[in-house]
């Protein structure tokens, strides 16, 4: 029996997670314990398994937070100190470094090997692609080794993400890289936004977290409406493209009943109709870009050419006042020129500035808006009201309307300006 075997903690409960067909994380941690050449890595894995088994037996967690960062930063690391470190000393400090992945989560195997080599040298050898925050999670570093690991990966192009009350690591879908539904350059939006706020990512000084997520179309694969303070979703303004030959082929293959049951009647605004010659009629003015019919018939239907994004603000989960969806503040923003991208970043800057100044401690953007009302927020960031921002107008009669005439005049002025821009071909 080797010295390693002598020191091994028994793991009767965790052992039961090595059975079954799905890949087992327990077997992975055991490989580090049993097969890794470094005694440091092996010892850490052994004590980590010991503590986890202890959690399984007692049904309690044993990690505590603290304060750890790297030189010049205030965040990006989730500190973990064990409460049962005397029993499991080699994993006593087991911090996670949150590292921002490349936009779209693309890697070469060389890049992954480089990260694996650095991590094995300095950390536990356990890593997750990716955490729910969108970060690469390097799980298990000591306070001392965080700096060395960071220095090494920072030299070849990786940087820490957000942790704490700050701008968080952003997320974007695969989008333009591979998906025909994409209506935007998610990569560029993602990096233009979050890399404009590196200071706010690395030095937590906001009332609470602030998340950007970018989805290339309303399928919203990044869950941005439900999970992001600032959701950017690709969309289009002109007519969707219909390849009628492909429609006919689909109807011929699947049958009219299938098409009526699965496409025509599923349209949320009744904007589709199947014509007698098996072609599709689309009421584009009433299409809300829900994506369902495009998802079912991707060969026949595709987004239009006049593409841009919608921006929704304020999504978050339960704590403190309840779940919130993001809601529309910009129905459409074209993103073609550098000036267009600057406008997008400017809206984000205005939003974060207003949030920083007006939110209460530990209050998310959506909760702040719930407290002060959407109109006050819009005035704060300099965005005009728009009927696309609401599901329906106010039902409560408790409102003062003293300045109705002035507000109505503003609406007609904006309409007139919009019409002028539209005729000049410059509407945005």
């Amino acid at each position: 029996m080797s010295e390693r075997d002598d020191k091994q903690h028994g793991t009767p409960m965790l052992d039961q997670l090595e059975d079954g067909p799905w890949p087992s994380f327990v077997s992975g941690i055991k490989r580090l314990r049993d097969d890794h050449p470094s005694d440091r890595v092996s010892g850490m894995a052994n004590d980590l398994l010991g503590q986890l088994e202890h959690s399984y037996e007692t049904r309690k967690g044993y990690w505590k937070g603290g304060t750890v960062s790297v030189y010049g930063y205030g965040g990006g690391i989730i500190p973990r100190f064990s409460e049962v470190g005397d029993m499991f000393p080699e994993s006593r400090e087991f911090h996670t470094l949150r590292v921002q992945p490349p936009a779209g989560n693309h890697y070469t195997t060389d890049a992954l090997r480089q990260l694996a080599d650095s991590w094995e040298k300095h950390g536990s050898g356990l890593v997750t692609f990716h955490g729910q925050t969108g970060n690469i999670m390097f799980i298990g570093a000591t306070t001392e080794s965080t700096q060395h690991f960071f220095d090494e990966i920072n030299d070849y192009g990786f940087d820490l993400g957000g942790a704490g009350p700050c701008v968080r690591t952003a997320m974007s879908c695969v989008g333009s890289a591979r998906c025909e539904m994409s209506c935007s350059n998610e990569h560029k939006i993602h990096r233009s936004l979050v890399n404009n706020f590196t200071d706010d990512v690395h030095r937590p000084a906001l009332p609470y977290k602030f998340k950007f997520k970018v989805s290339g179309c309303p399928n919203d694969c990044m869950n941005s409406i439900e999970r992001a303070d600032f959701a950017v979703i690709g969309t289009w303004r002109d007519d969707m493209k219909v390849n009628q030959d492909e429609v006919k082929e689909y109807v011929g293959r699947k049958g009219r009943k299938h098409v009526i049951d699965n496409i025509i009647t599923r349209c949320p605004t009744n904007a589709l109709s199947l014509k007698d010659d098996d072609t599709l009629e689309v009421d584009n003015r009433n299409c809300v870009r829900c994506m369902h019919c495009l998802n079912v018939m991707p060969a026949a239907l595709s987004p239009g050419d006049d593409k841009g994004v919608s921006i929704l603000i304020g999504g978050k989960r339960t704590l403190k006042i309840g779940d919130m969806f993001g809601t529309v503040i910009v129905p459409f923003l074209r993103l073609e020129t550098e000036e267009d991208y600057e406008r997008l970043v400017e809206i984000a800057e205005e939003t974060i500035d207003f949030f920083a100044e007006n939110a209460l401690e530990h209050e998310r953007t959506g909760e702040m808006i719930e407290r002060i009302g959407l109109v006050n927020f819009l005035e704060g960031i300099g965005v005009d009201v728009d009927p696309n921002m609401i599901a329906h107008p106010r039902e409560s009669s408790y409102v003062r309307t003293d300045s109705w005439d002035e507000e109505a005049a503003k609406w007609f002025e904006r309409r007139a300006e919009g019409d002028q821009q539209a005729t000049a071909g410059g509407a945005s």
């Binding site: 039961q16 490989r31 989560n105 195997t109 694996a116 220095d151 990786f158 704590l319």
Partner: protein, 364 residues
């Protein structure tokens, strides 16, 4: 002043604040060449997607589930497969699946075989049960009521056939969360910790560890107030008001909310982030009081499987969980899943009237 005191401190390396790296440098060349120019996709088999670009070029994607918590050996194994059987370019989905992209259909089968031989499952595309989104749990979190990786491993062992086939009415996203912060997020089915007893306070520690006003402010129902206990400044909880949400525990660890017996699991259904067919929806409570039972959580898995079976049998093509329940109604959902409907299903939080039936629409 002595010479040693004057000696400059070792210069720390200043960080390069490079932020989010450019993904294009790592992207498969076919994807770079056809960036933003894709026109169609097909689903040749579960776990495989073929995307076609305007140029006529195509890229095949093979998706495999992972254990999410990867050791470097497993990560290198995945890289080896990528080098030998794919083109050396990979990406990860937000549900921690690895995707290999290849430029020829002939590379797909050998790649799938290599992944399967190495113990990974190919699937998770389109109308399958996708990999369960989850968080850290007992392995790393400071406030977890349960484990995450273990729950997911145990459930995927039972659900893997729905991952490797694509026979559900539409895709099914399952999530797990170890507290009400719900890092796992909204899901067609969400398995979340639900505490059932107020926090147990260690009054000896509160004054030193907790910033009491911010703990008081954190409570959604104003049930926490400052108090002197045994001559020490501490906090007390009005246990009649307490909703056992655990919001006070992260800012004040001496207010222990996790309990081996009374921290239960609850199951929620119908969360859907997509705008397709209807606006995004939040998940709704359907079952609670489920034991937190490591190492394999059989009670929770049994309910998940039951809900999945009913959905698979009864939902129409393209209906997500929420679409299905919207069509058949909640009474029928509880009837066919044989889950009890209780007083706890009726919301009493602010705005809850909107969740009541204010019509005569009743299915008989």
């Amino acid at each position: 002043m002595s010479e040693t005191a004057k000696k400059p401190k070792k210069q720390m390396r200043p960080a390069i604040e490079s932020g989010c790296p450019d993904g294009l440098q790592y992207m498969h060349p076919v994807m770079v060449r056809n960036f933003g120019q894709w026109v169609n996709h097909t689903h040749p088999r579960p776990g495989v997607l073929c995307h076609i670009a305007e140029s006529g070029e195509a890229i095949w994607t093979v998706r495999a589930g992972t254990q999410r918590i990867l050791d470097v050996f497993t990560l290198r194994k995945l890289c080896d497969i990528g080098d030998e059987f794919a083109d050396g370019h990979v990406r990860f989905t937000i549900r921690s699946n690895i995707e290999y992209m290849v430029d020829a259909e002939s590379k797909v089968e050998p790649l799938i075989n290599a992944l399967t031989e190495a113990g990974f499952m190919v699937g998770g595309t389109q109308n399958s049960v996708a990999m369960i989104a989850h968080t850290q749990g007992w392995l790393h979190c400071d406030i977890p009521g349960t484990d995450a990786s273990g729950v997911v491993k145990a459930m995927m062992d039972e659900l893997h056939e729905e991952f490797t086939s694509a026979e559900m009415p539409n895709r099914v996203h399952i999530t797990t969360s170890c507290c009400q912060i719900n890092c796992g997020g909204q899901g067609d089915i969400a398995i979340n910790v639900q505490h059932t007893k107020p926090p147990k306070i260690n009054h000896d520690l509160v004054a030193n560890v907790c910033e009491r006003p911010s703990v008081v402010a954190r409570c959604p129902v104003a049930a926490i107030r400052p108090a002197m206990v045994n001559g020490k400044p501490s906090l007390e909880v009005d246990e009649k008001k307490c909703i056992c949400c655990g919001a006070c525990y992260p800012p004040c660890p001496p207010m222990q909310i996790n309990d081996p017996e009374h921290s239960k699991l609850a199951i929620w259904v119908g969360g859907n982030h997509s705008n397709a067919r209807s606006k995004p929806s939040f998940q709704k409570l359907v079952a609670a009081g489920i034991p937190n039972n490591p190492p394999r959580w059989p009670e929770a898995t049994a309910i998940v499987k039951r809900i999945l079976r009913c959905y698979k049998e009864d939902a129409r093509d393209w209906e997500r969980m929420n679409d299905w329940i919207d069509r058949i109604g909640w009474p029928r959902f509880f009837e066919i899943t044989e889950l009890p409907f209780t007083r706890f299903h009726i919301d009493n939080w602010r705005g809850s009237r909107k969740s009541l039936n204010s019509s005569s629409y009743i299915r008989f």
